[in-house]
């Protein structure tokens, strides 16, 4: 196999990895749009509403990063389970950022969708 062949074969996987990396932040911000949630609820929300399975080892550090960047705020709330839970909510900056990202996403996917329609049918 020549060098260019193997590069071509790898390309779709690498592209998908890049795509996933870029979207997780938006998915988390969007999951908090309606109300505040704690970590496990966010994970469940991504699974149930978006069919996204994310490892907790990725989500918790990312939540703390988004908080440090001022996009999320958090508070501890006592639960009936007997231990407190850390709830996250969007800050004003986080709400604005989520809105901007969602708009870019929708515009991009609508314009690309037209282009992709015949490609999908051809398979």
């Amino acid at each position: 196999m020549s060098r260019s062949d193997s590069f071509e074969a790898d390309a779709p996987d690498k592209w998908e990895v890049q795509l996933r990396k870029g979207c997780l932040e938006l998915a988390i911000l969007a999951s908090l749009w309606g109300k505040k949630l704690y970590g496990l609820e966010i994970l469940r929300r991504l699974e149930s509403d978006a069919d996204l399975t994310v490892s907790e080892g990725t989500v918790y550090p990312l939540l703390s990063r988004l908080k440090a960047l001022g996009l999320l705020e958090s508070e501890w709330v006592e639960s009936e389970a007997g231990h407190p839970r850390k709830y996250y909510a969007l800050t004003a900056a986080g709400r604005q950022r989520a809105g901007e990202m969602a708009q870019i996403w929708s515009r991009f996917s609508a314009s690309l969708g037209q282009l992709l329609a015949p490609v999908g049918k051809g398979r």
């Binding site: 704690y38 990312l62 389970a81």
Partner: protein, 202 residues
């Protein structure tokens, strides 16, 4: 929950806490408490069993790897806020353990800061030791040396007292732009690991 079950959880959290030593204690306490609450919640979903707890803990990954993700992000965010050379190098050092982009930023920032600091230092020392300067080692050669050198008899100093303003400007400028570039790289290239996947289409 049996004492053995609690022990399993405390062992994991204890190892995580040890790996998070570099963080302010307030931050590391908050991380540990949040994960404790996660483990208790997730384990109780299926009725608390020893296996349940073990699998929840396993799903979090090794304490060392988890701590690395937290530390890198905390240090990068702090570097963006305080913008000091020390914070930038510290964060890049952490990031370098996770990815090749981190290694490149670490090397570039160290070189940039050493270069900048040398000019800065030379300008500061000049009033006390006039032999400090930018020396051309041989006539018509491009070999330059910054500092105090009379290694070669034909050596000749290029800047004279101008070393002070030029050194301060060039040194300060290099340090500032190194910080700026490193932080731009952090924003541009630092991403969480891509370990999530799309489920089957409904």
């Amino acid at each position: 929950m049996t004492p053995e079950d609690s022990q399993l959880i405390e062992d994991y959290l204890g190892r995580l806490r040890a790996c998070l030593r570099e963080l302010p204690s307030e931050d590391s306490r908050e991380i540990v408490e949040e994960l404790r609450s996660h483990i208790l919640d997730k384990a109780s979903e299926g009725g608390v069993t020893r296996e349940g707890i073990a699998s929840v803990v396993a799903a979090l990954g090794s304490p060392k790897e988890l701590a690395r993700q937290y530390l890198t992000d905390e240090l990068l965010v702090r570097a963006q806020k305080v913008r000091t050379p020390w914070a930038v190098v510290h964060a890049a050092f952490r990031w370098a353990r996770l990815s090749i982009e981190g290694v490149l930023v670490l090397i570039a920032s160290i070189i940039g800061y050493i270069f900048g600091a040398s000019f800065f230092l030379a300008a500061l020392i000049k009033p006390f030791n006039p032999k400090v300067g930018l020396w051309q080692l041989e006539p018509d050669s491009y070999q330059l040396a910054l500092g105090m050198t009379d290694r070669t008899p034909q050596g000749h100093e290029l800047l004279g007292w101008y070393l002070i303003p030029i050194g301060l400007a060039l040194g300060g400028g290099t340090i500032l732009s190194t910080t700026h570039l490193a932080i731009w790289m952090f924003r541009r290239f630092r991403r969480p690991p891509a370990d999530w996947r799309l489920g089957p289409a409904r």
